[in-house]
Structure formats: structure tokens, C-alpha cells
């Protein structure tokens, strides 16, 4: 079941999503922190004392995750994508700047903010989803 991640696999996506939700709940329940990835990374760019260690620990866990999965025998193959350099770099700049200006990304706003019925997160999620559809679909047309 875990050997090929390329075709659409609803159960794997649902299951993986549930693990993401579980991790977000555990980080709040155990450590009192919000598992918003852009916030965790962004906080390291203006470090304050006592606030660096947990960010690094979480990031190390994230970075290690694909190695643990491959060691356990899961194949992490990806679909083919014909992305050009410009799209990757511009996309990265927009994601970095935008998540900081908008105070969060898919995890902070989409997974945790929506769960606490935060009106800011509802507004942010609508905004970034709309932009995603708009940009990806426009690119397809041109």
C-alpha cells in the first residue's frame, strides 16, 4: 500500500493528513506551541533567548522524516513536474514573504487556525486558496 505514492491515493492522503492533525494537537497539548511551519521557521530569523531550541528540534524532526520513511522501506517517489527555475524562485520568494506578512501558512492557518474557528485564519485560508487556484489555472492557460 505504501510502495507507490504517485497515483492519487485517497486513503493515504487522508491518513497522512490525520497524522499532521495529530502532530498539531500533540504540540499544543504537550508543549503549548502552535505547529505553524512558517512561524516556526520565521521565528528563527529574529531569534530571542529561550525560543530557539524548540524551533530547531521541530525542524530537525521534519527534516529527518523522509529518511525514517525510506529506512522503513517506503518509497517516496514523486510525479514528474516541468517546473522552470523562475517559477521555483519566484514561488519561494512569494511563499516566504507572504506567509510572514499574512502571519501563517497551510498549517498555522489551515490546520490549527480553522480548528479554533479563528476568523483571521478563515480569511487567510480563503485568500491563499483562491490565489493558488487563480495562479495555477492562469499558468495553464498561458
Amino acid at each position: 500500500m505504501f510502495t507507490d505514492l504517485v497515483p492519487f491515493q485517497p486513503w493515504l492522503s487522508l491518513f497522512g493528513g490525520a497524522l499532521i492533525g495529530l502532530a498539531a494537537v500533540l504540540l499544543l497539548a504537550i508543549n503549548g506551541k502552535i505547529a505553524g511551519i512558517s512561524g516556526i521557521v520565521g521565528g528563527l530569523l529574529k531569534p530571542s533567548s529561550g525560543d530557539v531550541g524548540w524551533r530547531l528540534a521541530f525542524i530537525v524532526g521534519l527534516l529527518a522524516s523522509p529518511f525514517l520513511l525510506s529506512a522503513a522501506g517506503f518509497s517516496l517517489s514523486k510525479g514528474e513536474i516541468d517546473l522552470d527555475l523562475g517559477a521555483l524562485l519566484l514561488g519561494g520568494l512569494l511563499v516566504g514573504f507572504g506567509t510572514r506578512l499574512g502571519s501563517g501558512c497551510t498549517s498555522g492557518h489551515g490546520v490549527i487556525g480553522l480548528a479554533r474557528l479563528s476568523r483571521r485564519s478563515v480569511a487567510a485560508t480563503i485568500s491563499f486558496m483562491a490565489a493558488g487556484f487563480l495562479v495555477a489555472s492562469l499558468i495553464h492557460l498561458f
Binding site: 492519487f8 497522512g16 493528513g17 490525520a18 499544543l28 502552535i34 510525479g79 510572514r100
Partner: protein, 149 residues
């Protein structure tokens, strides 16, 4: 204990991202591109994540404290600002363009594939650019106050 639990939770989060298929940018652009072969993965991932978080997060907030911390770092702002909407729109544009958001980028950075490394470096530059923008805004604000004083 705090650091170890945080690391393990980060690992769980990353396993979720990899298993769910979110580390594959083709799935994201495939979801957002309504004119192409549609990939519904993101919908299922969000359903799985929200199914757990919509139950668990309110329970923890009601409890009011964490196992290893006295306070919960839950945001309290309620104001919907232009920064929130514009920032999120810029983020979504980049997400639809490159197919990566911050979590999946980190959860596949270790593979050192060229495309995720390039994306990550650009994302960090974007975050730095925002820090500079914030400082510039604060300076403008201070100037404005001096001018009206």
C-alpha cells in the same frame, strides 16, 4: 524532555506530510489547476488533518495548559487586516506557482533535490525580505509620528 517531545512531534508531522503526498509539488499544482487533470489529494489531506485538529485543538484550549508548559501560545488577535489578506494572497500565489508550502518544503529538503533546495533558499530570502520590510514600515511609522507631533 521538552526538546525530545518536540523533535518527535516534528518527525510525526513530517511523516504525515510525506505519506499524504504533499511533498510532491505536482499534486499541489494538479489540485490548483482547474484546467488540468485534477488531483484531489490536498482536499483529502485537509479533511484528515481537520478531522483530528477540529476535535483535539479545542479540547486542549479548553484545558488551558499544556503537559510540559503552563501557558498555551495561542494567538489572540481577531482583526482582519490588509496585511493578513495580501500576505496570504501572495503566499497562495507562490504555492500555486511552485507547488510547495513551507511544511512540505522542509519535509523533503533533506533529499537535497535541486528543485526543493532552490525553493527553500528563495523562501528564506522572502522571509528575510519581510523582516526588512517590517523594519522599514516601523521607521516610516516613527517618522510619521514625529511629523505630526
Amino acid at each position: 524532555m521538552k526538546l525530545l517531545s518536540t523533535l518527535l512531534i516534528g518527525l510525526l508531522f513530517g511523516i504525515g506530510l510525506n505519506v499524504s503526498g504533499m511533498t510532491d509539488p505536482a499534486r499541489i499544482t494538479g489540485f490548483f489547476d482547474i484546467f488540468g487533470a485534477w488531483d484531489p489529494s490536498l482536499l483529502f489531506v485537509m479533511a484528515g488533518a481537520l478531522g483530528v485538529s477540529m476535535v483535539g485543538i479545542p479540547l486542549v484550549i479548553r484545558r488551558g495548559k499544556a503537559l510540559l508548559a503552563d501557558k498555551l501560545g495561542v494567538p489572540t488577535r481577531r482583526d482582519i487586516t490588509p496585511s493578513l489578506l495580501i500576505g496570504s494572497f501572495l503566499f497562495g500565489s507562490g504555492w500555486g506557482l511552485a507547488g510547495y508550502c513551507p511544511g512540505p518544503a522542509l519535509a523533503s529538503l533533506g533529499t537535497l533535490e535541486t528543485e526543493v533546495v532552490l525553493f527553500f533558499v528563495a523562501m528564506i530570502i522572502g522571509m528575510f525580505a519581510h523582516s526588512l520590510f517590517e523594519k522599514w514600515q516601523l521607521r516610516q511609522c516613527a517618522k510619521g509620528k514625529r511629523a505630526t507631533a
